[in-house]
Structures are given as C-alpha cells and as structure tokens.
C-alpha cells in the first residue's frame, strides 16, 4: 500500500507532466510564431490554432503550483524563494503572452500588432527556457543548509541547468510545431513546417541525448534506476517516442507526431521526477538538509482531503477538456478566422 506522501509525489509529477504536454505546445507555438508566420493573416492563423485551448492549458500550471503548495508546503516555500528571479520572469512572460493573445487584434495599427507579436514570442520563450533551468537545478540539488537556500541568482545559471533550459525550448518548440501542423493543414505555413519539422527533430534528438549524458554526470537521478530496473521504461519510452516521432514526421503524419512529441515531453519530465523520488529538493553539499516528501509534506489529514478532491475532479476536468478539444478538432477554418472575437 502506497503512503499518501508517495501518492502525492506521483500526482505532483503527473500534474507537471500534464502542464508541459498541454501548455508546452502553446509555448512552442509562441516561440515559432515569428519564424513561421510571414504576414498578418498567417500570424493570426498560428495564434488562433491555440485560441480556444491555451487558457485551459495554463490552469494546469496553476494547479501544479497549487498542489506543490498544498501537498508539500515546505518544499513550495524553498523552491519559490530560491527561484525568485526565474519565477518572476516566468510570471511576467506568462502575463504578457496571455495579454498579447487577447489584445493583438484589438487594433489595426502595425506597431501595435508588432509589439504584441514580440510580447507573444518573448512571453513564450522565457517560461519555456526558465522552467528548464529551474528543473535542471532541482535535479542537481540546491545549496541548502538549516537556514534554507544559500545560493544566488547567478549560481542558478550553471552549465547543466542552462542545457536543460535549452532542451526544454527545443522540446516544446518541436511539440508546438506538430500542433500547428495539425491545425493548419496544407497551406503555406504547413509547407514551411514540412521543411522545418525533420531538422527540428534532429536537433531535439541531439539535445535530449546531451541531457541524458549530462544528467548521468551532473546529478544523482539515475541512482533510482539502478535500484529499480522497472523505472527504465521511462527513458526507454523517451527513446521510443523520439523514434516514432521521427518516422511520422518524415511521413508528414503530424497528428501521430504530435502525440509522439507529447509522449516524449511527458516521459522526459517523469524520468526526471522518478530520479528525484523520494526527494523534492536534494540539498548540496550535505544531503541531510534535503527536502523529502516526508519532511515537507502536509499533514496526513490534509493529504487525505486533497486526495478525495483530486480523485473526483481531475478526471472530470480531463473529461470536459477533452470534450472541448473535440469540438475544435481539425484545422482552423476560414469561418473561425472571421469570428470578430478570434485572435
């Protein structure tokens, strides 16, 4: 029988994975936006591809952060104050990108639209990169002692975390490219994606490989894998999904390619989390100050309440979100673009 702390570690990991699967392609679309779309109509098309869903996707972040707070308050506090500047920039990025989506079409002025295009791009790139930097630092561990976090903003920028940030950018961009390809069909944007996607796939394979090699040297994540071989399905799954993705991209089957990139995102995130367990924040140099799921968890009573709520509502949320995705399935249509409230 699993203890509540482990159950919530698992749910915590799943929520972050769901966030990166879902909002991941939104962020990727934002990063691609200036490169992929050449005129106003194309820019609108790309933005409208995530129009009906991005807001709902972003709530997975609110929930993942909220669950970090509710299930592991002590870890929430250390993580959020240690990553003060990265989180501040993520916050600013997410704010301006949301506003960019909603406000860009509210004026015909070229300068206005260019400004919001830039905000959409930067507001997508910044969170994608900095989430990678944050998780890279968590995987390595933070300088903690009994007084809390002892590092600085500069010490968060180390080779491993920057590499992880880069991998997040590439991974989410590829994921976003597949989404746009599904949503735009065979027009000009689609043709450009046909040339971009195979090259992006190669870049992704290289960065993921580098990430795994670096992880072996810079972190202790793989110790869990040596203790429990079953976990190896996760990195094996990463490789399989990358392989499947490559084959589908070459065949220009973007729907399966999208699910393959989504699977890769989820499995990479879970590979990291499975390596952390049962730690939430490993401490360096003295592991005794590590935050574990046991010393930073909420009380058993609170975890029980949260479990009941999650068991009832997470499936319900997933069900109505899937239902809305189905309503908007298929490429963005001309009729969608004529809607005055569209982006």
């Amino acid at each position: 029988m699993m203890d509540y702390q482990s159950l919530w570690f698992f749910l915590w990991a799943v929520l972050w994975a769901a966030y990166f699967f879902l909002d991941g392609f939104d962020l990727g679309v934002g990063i691609l936006h200036p490169f992929l779309a050449r005129n106003d109509l194309e820019k609108r098309l790309v933005m409208n591809s995530i129009g009906p869903v991005w807001d709902g996707n972003k709530v997975w972040l609110v929930t993942a952060a909220g669950v970090t707070f509710a299930a592991f308050p002590a870890a929430f506090v250390v993580i959020f104050s240690a990553f003060y500047f990265p989180l501040l920039l993520i916050l600013f990025g997410l704010i301006i990108r949301g506003i960019a989506l909603e406000f860009r079409n509210k004026s015909e002025s070229r300068a206005w639209r260019r400004g919001w295009d830039l905000a959409f791009f930067l507001g997508s790139l910044t969170p994608a990169f900095l989430f990678g930097v944050i998780f890279g630092n968590l995987f390595q561990g933070l300088p903690l002692n009994d007084q809390g976090y002892q590092g600085s903003a500069a010490s968060l920028c180390n080779r491993y975390s920057l590499m992880t940030g880069l991998m997040f950018v590439v991974m989410l961009t590829v994921h976003g490219a597949h989404w746009v390809a599904v949503k735009t069909g065979d027009d000009l944007v689609g043709a450009r994606l046909g040339r971009f996607a195979p090259r992006a796939w190669v870049l992704l394979v290289v960065t993921v490989a580098l990430f795994f090699v670096n992880t072996a040297f810079a972190t202790s994540l793989f110790a869990n894998y040596l203790d429990n071989y079953v976990l190896l399905v996760l990195p094996a799954g990463v490789m399989l999904s990358l392989l499947a993705m490559g084959m589908e991209v070459l065949k220009r089957n973007y729907r399966p390619a999208f699910f393959a990139s989504g699977a890769a995102v989820v499995l990479i995130v879970l590979t990291g989390f499975a390596g952390l367990y049962p730690l939430l924040v490993p401490a360096r140099p003295d592991a005794i100050h590590s935050l574990t799921i046991f010393n930073s968890a909420a009380s058993a009573y609170t975890l029980k309440i949260l479990t009941v709520v999650a068991v009832v509502f997470v499936p319900l949320v997933a069900a109505y979100q899937i239902w809305v995705y189905r309503i908007f399935r298929g490429p963005v249509t001309g009729e969608d673009m004529e809607n005055k409230e569209a982006y």
Binding site: V62, A65, P73, Y84, K106, S107, I305, V324, I327, K340
Partner: protein, 436 residues
Amino acid sequence: MDVLALSRIQFAVTAMFHFLFVPLTLGLSILVAYMESRYVATRDGMYLRMTKFWGRLFLINFALGVATGLSLQFQLGMNWGEYSRYVGDIFAVPLAIEALLAFFLEATFIGLWIFGWKRVSPRLHALSIWIVALATNMSALWILLANGWMQHPVGYVLRNNRAELTDFLALITSGYGWLKFFHTILAGYVVAAFFVMAISAWHLLRKNHLPLFKESFRIGATFGLVSALLVVLVGDFHGAEVGKAQPAKLAAMESLWETQRAVPFYLILVPDPQKERNALELLGIPKMVSFLAFKDGNAEVKGLKDFPRDERPPVWATYVGFRLMVGLGGLFILLSALAAFLSWKDLLERYPLFLKVLLLALPLPYLAGELGWIVAEVGRQPWIVYGVLKTSAAASRGVSALQAVVSLAGFMILYGFLGAVNFYLLAKYARKGPEA
C-alpha cells in the same frame, strides 16, 4: 526599506491591481449570460448585438483579471515563505480546490464561448457563459474561504511547529468566510451594474442605439439596485461577525478608544491616534455603533486602549476606509434606485443630468471595493492570521532586499503599462458601440 516592507507593498499593489478586474468579471459574466439567454429565448437580434458588445468589454477586462491572478499565488511562495510554511497545511487547501473546481471550468468554457459561436448550438453557447459566470463566482468562494480563515482561523491545531488542519468542514462552513464571499461578489455585481449603466448613459446621451442601450441600462439598474441593497445588508451581518471575531478591527473601524456601553455613532469624527483619543466627535447618533455591531443598543464595545499598542491596527486607514465604503454603499442604493425607477418608467432621456452623474459615478464602486479590502487587510494588522501569526514573522527567509526592490519595480512598470492599455481598449470599444 527591508524585505518585509517591500513585500507588503508589492502584495498590496498586485492584489489591489488584480481587484480592479475581478469585480467586473464577477458581475458582468452574469449580465452577459443573461443577455445571451434572452437572445436564445426570443431570437431578438438586439440581444445578440448586446451580448457581443458587452461580451467584448467583458473579455478585455477578463484577460487582465486572469493574467494578474497568478502573481498572487507565486508571491505566497516567493515573498511570504514563512507564512506559507506555517499555514500552508490549511491555507493552500482552498487554493488548490479553487484551481480544480473553478479555474479549469472558467478557462475551458471561456475558450468555448469566445471561439465556439459557429461550432456549438446557441443554447450550448449560452450555457458556456453561464458556466463561466458560475465558475468565476465559485473561485471567489474558495479564495474568500481562504482569506476568511486568515481573518478568523478555525478547524486547526498548532502542531509540528506549524498550524495543521483538523476540521475541513469547519474551514468550508466558516460563517466569516461565507459572509465575506457574499459581501465581495455583491460588491462585484454593483461594479458591473454601474459599469453597464455608465456606458449605456454615455450612449443614451448621444442617442446611439437607443433601444439597445435603454434595455442594457434597465438590466444594469435592476441588477444594481438588488445588489446594492444586498451588499449593504450582508455588510451589516459581516460587520457583526467582525465585532465578534476581531474586536480590535471593529474598534479601529469606529475609532473607538475607550471600552464602553451604548456607543454612539458620530457623523463627524477625527481620530487622534497619537493621543489615543478622537480630536473631534460631533453629531452623535445614540447607541448606533453598539446596535450595528451587536444588535443591542446597550452592548459593550471594546475600545482600542484595551489592546496592547503593538496589537492595534492602523486607525486612520481602517477608519477612513470603512467610513467611505459605507457612505458609498448608501450612495449606490440611492443612485440605483433612481436609475431603476427612471428606466422602468422609460424617463431616462428626460434627465440628461442624471445620466451624466451616472457616467461620473463609474469609478466609485471600484473605489468602494478597494476600500473594503483596505478595511479587511489593514484592519487585521499586525496579524497576518488573526491571533495566530504576525505579519512581521511571515516574510521569506533568504530573499534579499535587492530582489524585492527589483520585483516591486517590475510589477509597477508592467502593471502600469497593462492598466493603461486596458483602459485605452475599454474606452475605445465602449465608445465604438455595438456592431451593426
């Protein structure tokens, strides 16, 4: 300035900015949903144009409300680490539930509403904005149950060097939290009602789209009158709850220094916190404060001097905030009663001056809402959780003053810019009027 002071200013700035958008969302979502339901029921094109006109203003405002909410959640970890560590076991529960029960519904169905005009049936489309309205109001419930717990902690025990939840039912049935909830959403409805009346008045003065704006005005005025009456009524219950749970706040709201029975309400009163008395007390209504707080004109009300100096809230801000809010509440009842009467009798065009007054009154319900929060939060000081944890012990350890200065400056610049853009767009689309 130290990290604590900077973090307090930052939270005040970001929370008050957030609350410029939330109240309108709470009320206007319901009004737009009502308008669209009228369209579905009557198939009268005017209601469709009305829905789209107000819906667009709703969405501009909604974008800012959603975008600025996340800042508050992040700050709890970034700046208020000791607070979150100490009470996270309780306080974070309603926040997590808010995300799962309300934010998902709100964000998913707003997407369906914006983009689904041609994709779903009119009935389902109208239903989706009703779901948004319900979800928005539900999110207010959970966040106010959380805030209600800070005001009046229940269902917990101090254990393991923190506060731990022991009774979830007590948390979610807290009378204090529910009264705060009703008081806040009703204040939001008043904001939305005056928003609709003011913009309709602007168009009525110019004779634009007369039937559409007369009907909008009538909807706004009716909703406004009901909400203004109820917000004052609930506010009265809430005041009584404050008197029981936070006597120091009540004393500051009334600027009452000495504990006494049958406390009168002075229409003119000037506090003098330095000398622990009031410099001026004129035109007293006998027994009024005792009666309002305890429903008994002879009840004893505790004065500020009964509390140690370091456990008294700042008197000026609490007192002025409360007085102004109450005065404005009365004004809203008068204005909306008159507005409802004139619009139901179809006499609005005969009183252009009244329409101008309503246009000018637009900022007042916003002001009243912000004042209400000042009373609630400043009046709770020096406590962050009343009687459990002081604000001075709540800030994060390991965050430097430099970090706090940079983030505060960043928020002010970004929010200043966003506020200006939002105001510009609302004015632009409000003036433009409905599509033909």
